[in-house]
């Protein structure tokens, strides 16, 4: 027990680590999820007990699965004993059975790319034991969730699920390790330029149940709005749901304000925890949580993904709250963020105030507006008269291609990201959202709609695109003022300085190398952000 509880020693010993708040090991070893859990436990936040099988083991597993599992198995069993003691429950049997989640945890989050198995440790006896205090419906729902997930991820649809909880655990851990090399994870890493050799950690955590009774549920909570950057809580709440329901898109999700109305004390505790984690990480947090019979549990936390608008606004907010200094403020905003903001786009405030009519898969990017036509001939006639046309079809047929060409955008009821409609829309360069669900096209007919091929959304009305400007948008002016105080190259919108219109890294490097200190430019902020990045590369 003490052998695995210790966070010190040589890295070779860090195979199975208890996340009890003093693991104090780097994110690279624990993975993002394990690291976040350890940090939360250290702050005495309500986190179900968990242990981590490190990325080191994940890498060894890929090279030699059997020997690696044999080598760590005793430590895994020790970790399970610790979970049993901590929860006063027993794994694989009653009267108070322990169920666990087995989660992937790479160093860099790859949302939805790798596998997670919930409710593991389930068999006939466990289901019966769960049913006696909590009710047969809860026990049955939990069993069903486990069986579906285990079959999907571990055993395949036709194979029986083993009744032995330890056999489930071992197979579950192996499946999560192996999912590092799943095609979608490999494609994701290739796309984002992430290292293929990192491997994943596995986190084994005691289950808490959002599907248990009336005052229960699961959700995702953002400490601020990651879309607009407004300093207001944002998130989703699924009464009676478990964590995987949040991402499945199969159940109705309520806004986080619903939790505030239903369980104000839980909501307040969640807010307090989020603020505390924000201060700890000096950044906006995305927290996965479960409420079990009125008790809040935090399952994981991480710095949240954000839009370019939110990146700018959050950096300025956190600076004014004293959480980050000037240099960090400017590190939080990249030149690419500013470039994106200067391009005409559907601003988040505009987007979120227009009613959402349909949601599907983004098949070809862009934002266009027009009148929705279900009939190809009518669409072609309208386009001939110079109207802005959106072709909305239940599914596309070969004869629709001319209509697609004449339209500004395309919406379909059925079809995936590799459907004929998606293929043709990309080839024609027409904004497309596909697979919106049966009956959507008919419901859109005749309406003025805006198709957002970035978000995969159809919204009501002809929404106008707009752009931020370095001279007119207060947030960008404020950032530029901060940058002029610390950038090695000061860039100004006006003034008697050498002109610099080329904002490329090479041009900024050349200006720095020749000892320039002040230049005039259309985009002073982009130049200074680039200069600050280059300077920090030289002298870290």
């Amino acid at each position: 027990m003490t052998r695995v509880a210790r966070g010190n020693g040589t890295p070779e010993n860090h195979t199975v680590v208890l996340l009890n708040g003093d693991a104090n090991l780097p994110r690279e070893l624990l993975g993002n999820k394990g690291h976040g859990i350890d940090v939360m436990r250290r702050r005495n936040l309500p986190v179900p007990p968990a242990f981590c099988i490190t990325t080191l083991v994940g890498l060894r597993y890929l090279a030699d699965p059997k020997a690696t599992m044999d080598a760590i198995w005793d430590d895994v069993l020790d970790g399970m004993s610790w979970l049993e003691t901590d929860t006063s429950r027993t794994f694989g049997r009653g009267p108070r059975p322990l169920l666990v989640s087995v989660r992937s945890g790479a160093t860099h989050s790859m949302p939805g790319m790798m596998d997670t198995i919930l409710n593991l440790g389930m068999n006939d006896a466990v289901e019966q034991a769960l049913a006696s205090p909590e009710g047969a419906a809860f026990a049955h729902d939990t069993r069903r969730r486990f069986t579906n997930m285990y079959r999907r991820i571990v055993s395949g649809e036709s194979d029986p699920v083993p009744a032995d909880a330890h056999a489930q655990l071992r197979a579950g851990i192996e499946a999560v390790f192996a999912s590092w090399n799943s095609p979608r994870a490999v494609a994701y890493r290739a796309h984002y330029g992430l290292d293929d050799r990192g491997g994943t950690a596995v986190v084994v955590q005691a289950m808490v149940f959002g599907n248990q009774g009336p005052n229960s549920g699961a959700g995702a909570f953002f400490s601020r709005n990651p879309i607009t950057g407004a300093n207001e809580p944002f998130g989703e709440w699924i009464p009676g749901g478990q964590g995987d329901d949040v991402v499945s898109g199969l159940v109705d999700v309520e806004p986080i304000t619903a939790l505030r109305d239903e369980q104000p004390a839980v909501y307040d505790e969640l807010m307090d925890s989020a603020r505390s984690l924000e201060r700890l990480g000096s950044d906006m947090q995305e927290i996965e949580f479960t409420v079990e019979d009125g008790k809040l549990w935090l399952l994981q936390t991480r710095a949240a993904e954000r839009s370019a608008q939110a990146a700018v606004r959050l950096a300025l907010q956190l600076r004014s709250e004293g959480l980050i200094d000037d240099a960090e403020t400017l590190r939080r905003v990249t030149p690419a963020h500013v470039e994106a903001l200067l391009r005409p786009a559907l601003q988040p405030e505009t987007r979120l105030t227009a009613p959402l009519l349909a949601k599907g898969l983004p098949a070809c990017p862009g934002v266009v507006s027009g009148t929705a036509y279900t009939d190809v001939d009518a669409a072609l006639d309208a386009a001939d008269q110079g109207k802005q046309v959106i072709l909305v079809r239940d599914h596309t047929r070969p004869e629709d291609v001319r209509g697609m060409l004449a339209a500004q955008g395309i919406v379909t009821d059925v079809g995936g990201a590799a459907s004929h409609a998606a293929v043709v829309s990309r080839e024609l360069g027409r904004v497309a959202v596909v697979g919106c669900g049966h009956g959507v096209a008919a419901s859109l007919a005749g309406k003025q709609i805006t198709v957002d091929g970035y978000e995969g959304e159809v919204r009501e009305g002809n929404l106008t695109l707009s752009a931020w400007s370095e001279t007119d948008t207060p947030e960008l002016r404020e950032l530029a003022d901060i940058a002029r105080r610390i950038s090695p190259l000061r860039a100004h919108a006006t003034g008697d300085h050498p002109r610099m219109d080329d904002t490329s890294e090479a041009a900024v490097r050349a200006a720095l190398d020749t000892g320039q200190t002040d230049v005039a430019s259309e985009t002073p902020l982009i130049i200074m952000l680039t200069a600050l990045r280059l300077a920090s590369q030289v002298s870290p």
Partner: protein
């Protein structure tokens, strides 16, 4: 050139110039002009800036297709359709990899990586080798479908000669255009509507 072939070609193209219609039918303009004129006079086709099928033409086409289907061995067609579904999934994955890098949610392929592009295109020969016997089998019941083999072969030849637009470009008989029409034909040969095929998760 049969009435059925011409009506079906016009329907699948939506709107088509007589010259393009001749190409897709494997004929020349002089060859198809008499039947096109006859179908236009009888109101089955509408002649404008391009030809299109009229409502009565569509009804006539449905009748002709139903006649063509009557008496065929439906088990053979069903088997061909099942086989097609598998190779269809692989072909669309190929096309998506050609258009996007990083899977269906990836970024547009800028076609600046010759090695990547070559690896994607190399998969087309395998797809073609698998689809030809499927068309052969279906054509034992519906000989008209043999034309799709020839058109796919023409597009494949152009792609292999480096004219990569012939993989996916719409409005020409590119590999994907012909494939999309073949898919529609097989759905029709099954006696399914696209709605029914869609409900079974297969009109994509």
């Amino acid at each position: 050139m049969t009435e059925l072939s011409v009506l079906q070609a016009v329907r699948l193209k939506g709107r088509v110039t007589p010259a393009d219609l001749a190409v897709t039918l494997g004929d020349d303009l002089d060859g198809i002009t008499p039947i096109v004129e006859q179908l236009t006079e009888s109101g089955l086709l509408v002649d404008g800036t391009a030809l299109k099928i009229s409502p009565s033409g569509r009804a006539r086409l449905e009748t002709l297709l139903a006649e063509e289907r009557s008496g065929i061995d439906s088990a053979t067609i069903a088997a061909a359709y099942q086989d097609f579904r598998a190779v269809n999934a692989d072909f669309k994955a190929l096309v998506t990899d050609w258009q996007l890098k990083g899977g269906p949610a990836g970024k547009p392929n800028p076609h600046d990586d010759a090695e990547y592009d070559a690896a994607v295109l190399a998969r087309l020969d395998d797809v073609h080798a698998r689809v030809v016997p499927i068309i052969d089998a279906a054509a034992t019941q519906l000989p008209r479908l043999n034309a799709y083999s020839s058109k796919l072969l023409v597009a494949l030849g152009k792609v292999n000669d480096g004219e990569t637009a012939w993989l996916t470009r719409p409005l020409i008989d590119s590999y994907h255009t012909v494939w999309f029409e073949l898919h529609e034909e097989l759905i029709g040969a099954m006696g399914l509507t696209r709605e029914e095929a869609a409900r079974s998760g297969d009109a994509q």
